[in-house]
Symmetry: D2
Subunit: 256 residues, 4 copies
């Protein structure tokens, strides 16, 4: 299993951090830097981590960047509408071609989630800084490895059901909130060749991404989503095949 | 869709109700009667409802009874071990042959659940009479039809994750408890020709089965589990088939 | 269960039927009329069936039409690109709001499938008029009710794996082809409040929609997809909820 | 991820190989040895492979053997009934406790499959030595890694649908046969802490386990099923928990 490092790109909207003092106090270098450092620190030489933000040209996600990214982590909230459709289209294609994708917290309302999952991603919500408890319901899933069951996030925005997503291919975490709501907080999906993990903890007003258990989940998710590291592959395309095409000796590497 | 009524058998262990005054006060005629009445009252002429209990010969589930049952509702707790293995075997066969099965509350520890699902059904638990809130996560599922999202059970025993079951074919309800635990409280499974619904609310110390929302869930589940009413069918069996057997005109009714 | 009839709209691209003599000979009034008649004949008074085609203004799917449609059946092939994005957007919203959708054959390449499922829908294919055998792998599913296992379609276009779709919520049929390929030919998905059934048989060069077994599948699928007939409902939307909102007596009907 | 080697136990019924000359010619040292050698050769220092057979005391699966096995591979056919119930019970407990399990070919009729999955495992079948083509339907699954899509097994026993198993948690392979049947030939299940992979190719009359693609699948499956290597863990058990138990600092390692 000695592979080249997983190339991770941590994308952050980076608006709250610059305009809201409360958020800046928690994430002075931006949430994306905290997330990137967490992944780098947990996975060491197994990863190569970069960051990009909304304000950069092409949001920092030019073709050559996406082509060399194995796993993209996405956090957006205030400016979903300002994400360029062309970039969404490219990210979508890269996921279908095998790039892993982590969708964090309010990214349930992002264009890329809607494009990949087909639903609204809508939730019931409230932000009063209440306690969230995260429970593992798939203890044999690699994303749950080494994660205490449960773990407590002292203060969080509440996201509650009904959460308008397709039934996840694998449901890993369910959260409860002090107010009594529940939420499918850790959800795995496969689309095309790519793996997608949605993880709901992470409101900007609380130091969620500084928390050890959350960092462990992110690191596990990077490994899981990087499966195959199919950087060079295109999305599946329809192809015409003659009768009996597969009975010839296969001279080339497997397609899938 | 004019069909003969669904033949429902409501099975109750009927021990707590006879030996514990607190339970008898809530269910003077036994939990099984309350459940049976609820189903009959919600579904009217669409059902024919009988009851049986542990103490009866063959636990009230003789061959001719099982053969004429479309949906069996099961509640056990104190005496899982006293259920005769031969009866468990027969119920198992009938489910594989198409009989619907409702597994209620502490039936997560029953022999029949272990036999059908293959896992321990173990839970984390506590009984301090805390509040349970039941949330719908499959709003388009027939078992959720007309069920408020959420509804509150004022007092319940806590059942919490990790709940050792296979990943449900369809997850309909998730509950939270006042203490912060979550539980996959409404789970659908198909095994062989049969449909199984596990529903966790229903501790004997609280009037859970008198509650309108719970009764609605049970009635919906009976309808769902009765699908097909395949009373005469046997479990699937291996069969040898010659080359090309299916190209002959099919003279008989479809097998499945 | 006495409900108003299910309002079905059968949409057909209606290009091959007008421009290709071979197709016109099989479907002189258009494939949409054959499909509509089949559904009407199988479901009788339980349905009200209309048809629409690409050439009509707004493709025959104006707001008032979609608002009064419970289940939409979609067949497209030669002109996916000519389907107006605004119509696709409206159909998408209606499905999320509860309208059922049947996606037939080459609709795997349609805009609406890509919008709802997020993947390419690409297939391996070949048209040499080979035999397709359709096998049931979910014998307890309502769409398989009364469908012989298997049934044979004497001549069909081959659609083979890998089929680029999300893992279906329920896989009902798998087909084999004379050339040795397999295909997940009957796939159920739920998105938002809506139910979607993809069914692959139906190439325009063969009388597939005249075949009794295929018609039975379509009729079953209409019933399944109509579940709830939530004609008046909107897609789910995020909503802010105060602490304890659900502990008040619910004065109104359930939301989901 | 530098771990101790995966301890693999390859169990073979070893009856046909001793009593049937045709089988002995293909597998002179027994199928179990061919399978064991294939796994050892593909995974090298990452595995430690042993074998055991029916005739040995406790079928070669004494407590100390099972306790030091990470992945058990199982092939049975002629003597399912002669497998001791006590051994089945122990294997069942070990799987729930985290041991991986490969169930090969006719093991669909074994006691351990029925015990873990709850269904009959029945199939339609025929042995005329026809061609099987194995198609990947989950190209991003680790068990499909490096496996050509499709690959051809020149001669095999036909196993066809309906295959009476629970809907797999992940469906990796579907096979077609020369006679037109299809079969879900590669199926993943998780039960308790353990991972189970059923793989249907492998009739004793043909050199299936000598084939490179099949060996690759087995090696991939060992890796997948070994996840976590939870050799010391017990099956989940119910446990009583006081209110607020998880708010104390967790002094110990995560439970799941």
């Amino acid at each position: 299993m000695s592979r080249t490092p997983i190339h991770v790109m941590v994308w952050g909207e980076n608006i709250h951090e610059r305009h809201n003092e409360r958020v800046r106090a928690i994430y002075p270098r931006g949430m994306h830097r905290t997330i990137a450092d967490a992944i780098a620190s947990h996975l060491g030489a197994d990863v190569n981590v970069r960051t990009a933000t909304l304000e950069e040209p092409e949001h920092g996600l030019a073709d050559e960047v996406l082509q060399t990214t194995d796993v993209l982590s996405w956090w957006g909230h205030a400016a979903h509408d300002r994400v360029d459709d062309a970039v969404v289209e490219k990210v979508h294609r890269r996921v279908l071609g095998g790039m892993g994708l982590l969708l964090l917290h309010s990214s349930q309302g992002s264009k890329i989630l809607a494009r990949l999952l087909g639903t609204s991603g809508s939730v019931r919500w409230r932000d009063v800084g209440e306690r969230e408890v995260v429970w593992t319901v798939s203890p044999s899933h690699p994303i749950a490895e080494g994660v205490p069951n449960p773990f407590v996030i002292p203060q969080q925005e509440m996201y509650g059901e009904f959460f308008d997503i397709p039934q996840p291919d694998e449901l890993v975490f369910i959260s409860s909130f002090a107010g009594g709501e529940v939420f499918r907080s850790g959800c795995c999906f496969t689309r095309g060749r790519g793996r997608i993990f949605y993880f709901s903890p992470g409101h900007e007003f609380y130091p969620v991404y500084h928390q050890a258990e959350v960092q462990r989940v992110l690191a596990n998710a990077v490994r899981w989503a990087a499966f195959g590291q199919r950087r060079q592959q295109a999305p599946f395309q329809s192809e015409k095949k003659p009768m009996g095409w597969f009975t010839e000796p296969l001279a080339t590497a497997p397609e899938a």
